[in-house]
Subunit: 451 residues, 2 copies
């Protein structure tokens, strides 16, 4: 046989604590600001929509946070996830580099999102919350929360962007199978939704509008909280389990990565795999940590590090982050996910402090990488994850050119079983690459709130 | 934590041999007959469409067959698969029974089918075959063969039943992503297809017709062979790895099952999990082995054990099997898979020799079991697999009633990520249960070929 393909951990080896990089960053992460007063937002500002357990994690600089038994128990349904050695991909590239990937696609929802969804469901239930409201675009986050909430006996109301609700019904059916209630946004359930429908009954919806509906729903009902699948500090902390397991798995075969790669949309899977390695870098270790984003939504590579709203409606707290402006929308031709206008404050701080670097790729190149991966490693990757694959391939080819051995680690954040229409478009050569013109970026940045 | 949920094996523990129950069955499996002469079919009859490596396996009574290195290597992409203890399901049922399930859904194609697909691709390539032709209904087998062939550098031509090709494009896109060529059947590529289209340009296709096209394609080209995803002896032998791993995993925690359950369509996943336990039963061990099928396609529970054709067009060899007649079609309302009119000769022989028993369930009951499983264990099961889940639940409830502890093992043959439209129909209460009238069965059996 070619060699050991999968490095496994037993459930006994599941990390018992999440790691919080805010403890180790040389400069602290800037606090969120109240959208009205623009003063630092305190727990009281967040209490109407988040449980105290998560609010505490949002602000703590403790190095570690104990993972509750119930969360570990839910994790053990699919964690620890396997770390794979990509022998097939290496052979196809003819590279001397060793490529490893962490396989987060094995979760019931098919991505890394359940790592935070089960934690959020747990803390909400612990504080007596009976119902969660959230938004979802294509449905990856909504289905993760539906899965997690079914384990903890919590109701879920998902506001799904109407155009996805109509055109991509399968994740909706998946959420419903786990017992969640999923409505098209704009909906008749909220003032925001009703106003939008009155203005235009055919409103196709947007993620910003869906966020506004979910927040209004949660703020207006005592039994209901809001849940967010990326960006926030507590989400990135929960995702640290990805990097912690990976490090443990590599250590078990006496490896340490020269390069660590993750794709970055809101920043949670990247922050999750990166955090334990960035910590080593802060301590002087030589490790190259790369966030990969789409050229059509180049938050880290071309956005500004500034305070901005998390949503179009300017209802959320202001976060200090790399942003293209809260009004930014990637062109509709973009099929590769990672569409968020901002980047998690923790990841943005890593970038600002030169602890990571960022790359942007066009979508045709990333789908090409995804197809090569599927043919050599078997798994059809999520379009988001193909960004990390493309960067790993380029690093491996550079190693080949330089005749250097090198250890590359990337995160396979999810599988592409719900993204086959996008693969079909790629194979039919219908995908167009799009580069944001400088003028557009300058215009968006000029409209950022003045703090 | 609740306890260890997953029993893992390392790649070192991958079984190195397939087990062949034909060595141990008290009465031999009847040989296939030539469709024209009705005399036992020899290697020469099969050589135009199968490689010798597989033809030998079709007839051998050797106890074990070495798994080639290259196949082990491909298996190691996802095997050994985890064995799960279903704590969540047990708790929901309040049963004293211990429920274990073998998780075959973790393969790249999402089911057990790649266990035989990689073996078939390997033996064909070893004998210089450059291209494989096959048929597929909803696409589970076609995508498994596309995946396997991409690893071994073989071209694949899939004939996909037109109605599925048009209504369920996602598995088609998946096959194409792995590089397979997928056409709607009837197609213009074969005489059979052209004749069918000439008679009716809107012909919706059928599995029988697609088989005929694939066999014609393979028989007519020197570089091309045919591949079948179930029923045949070599397929059931390849699937024995499911049962062998399961037995090893249970032994590692000092367990042995009282009950072993698998769903049965063509019989390959059932035969795979059952074989090593049926062998123990032949040696006197007390183990209850149950095949579960849909009431609307009750091959084992109500079919006749007789020689029949494998396809509608009566082109395949005659196989001795439990059959509803080669003209049988389950009603179109049936959403739960497992639609084949016959049953693998090996599984049929087990049934005939009283080594297993069979149950039939209506589809609404199986989807209900699938939803309970998704809410308690996370994974949304394939509709096929929900038949095994339903039987496991009933066994666990019986144990509860009797106040008995009991160890139940079932095979989770695949996930349901491509079957969400069927789950939606179930949730919308649009699925109708259908029981085959006795008169229909009697009529079908009367039309069986006279041997």
């Amino acid at each position: 046989m070619i060699g050991q393909r999968k490095i496994l951990l037993s459930e006994r080896d599941l990390p018992k604590k999440w790691y919080n990089i805010m403890h180790d960053l040389p400069k602290p992460v800037a606090p969120p600001l109240h959208p009205g007063t623009k003063q630092p937002a305190g727990p009281d500002d967040l209490k109407p929509i988040f449980p105290m357990g998560l609010i505490e994690q949002e602000v703590t600089t403790s190095e570690y946070i104990d993972i509750p038994e119930e969360v570990l128990d839910a994790y053990s349904l699919w964690r620890p996830t396997p770390l794979h050695r990509a022998y097939g991909l290496e052979k196809a590239l003819g590279t001397p580099a060793k490529i490893y990937y962490k396989n987060e696609s094995v979760s019931p929802a098919g991505s890394h999102k359940p790592n935070t969804a089960v934690a959020q469901a747990y803390y909400n239930r612990r504080e007596g919350v009976k119902r969660l409201a959230t938004e979802t675009g294509a449905g990856q986050w909504g289905s993760a929360l539906a899965f997690a909430s079914s384990l903890f006996g919590i109701e879920v109301q998902v506001y799904m962007v109407r155009v996805s609700y109509d055109q991509k019904p399968y994740r909706k059916f998946l959420m419903q199978s786990w017992g969640a209630d999923c409505v098209a946004s704009p909906s008749n359930l909220t003032n925001t939704g009703r106003a939008a429908l009155q203005a235009n009954p055919d409103n196709p919806g947007s993620l910003g509008l869906a966020i506004s509906e979910a927040v209004e729903d949660a703020a207006g009902r005592a039994d209901t909280n809001y849940a967010l699948g990326s960006v926030l500090n507590h989400v990135v902390i929960h995702q640290s389990i990805i990097g912690m397991e990976s490090k443990q798995q590599l250590a078990s075969i006496n490896e340490y990565p020269d390069v660590v790669i993750g794709c970055a949309g809101g920043g949670s899977n990247f922050g999750g795999i990166a955090a334990p390695f960035v910590r080593d870098k802060i301590s002087g270790k030589n490790v190259d940590v790369i966030a990969v984003e789409p050229s059509s939504c180049p938050t880290l590579t071309r956005g500004k590090f500034a305070y901005d709203f998390g949503d179009v409606a300017m209802m959320t707290p202001l976060l200090k982050m790399h942003t293209l402006g809260h009004g930014f929308m990637p062109p509709s031709i973009h099929a590769g996910g990672l569409r968020y206008h901002g980047m998690a404050p923790i990841v943005s701080a890593m970038m600002d402090q030169n602890l990571i670097r960022a790359l942007a790729y066009h979508q045709n190149a990333t789908f090409e990488a995804g197809i090569l991966f599927a043919k050599t490693e078997g798994i059809l990757p999520a379009p988001e994850s193909t960004h990390a694959i493309k960067a790993a391939i380029d690093e491996a080819l550079k190693a080949k050119q330089e005749g250097k051995s090198k250890v590359i680690l990337f995160n396979l954040s999810g599988h592409g079983m719900f993204d086959l229409a996008s693969y079909d478009k790629y194979l039919q050569k219908q995908l167009v690459d799009h580069e944001m013109p400088d003028s557009e970026i300058q215009k968006a940045i000029k409209e950022l709130p003045v703090i």
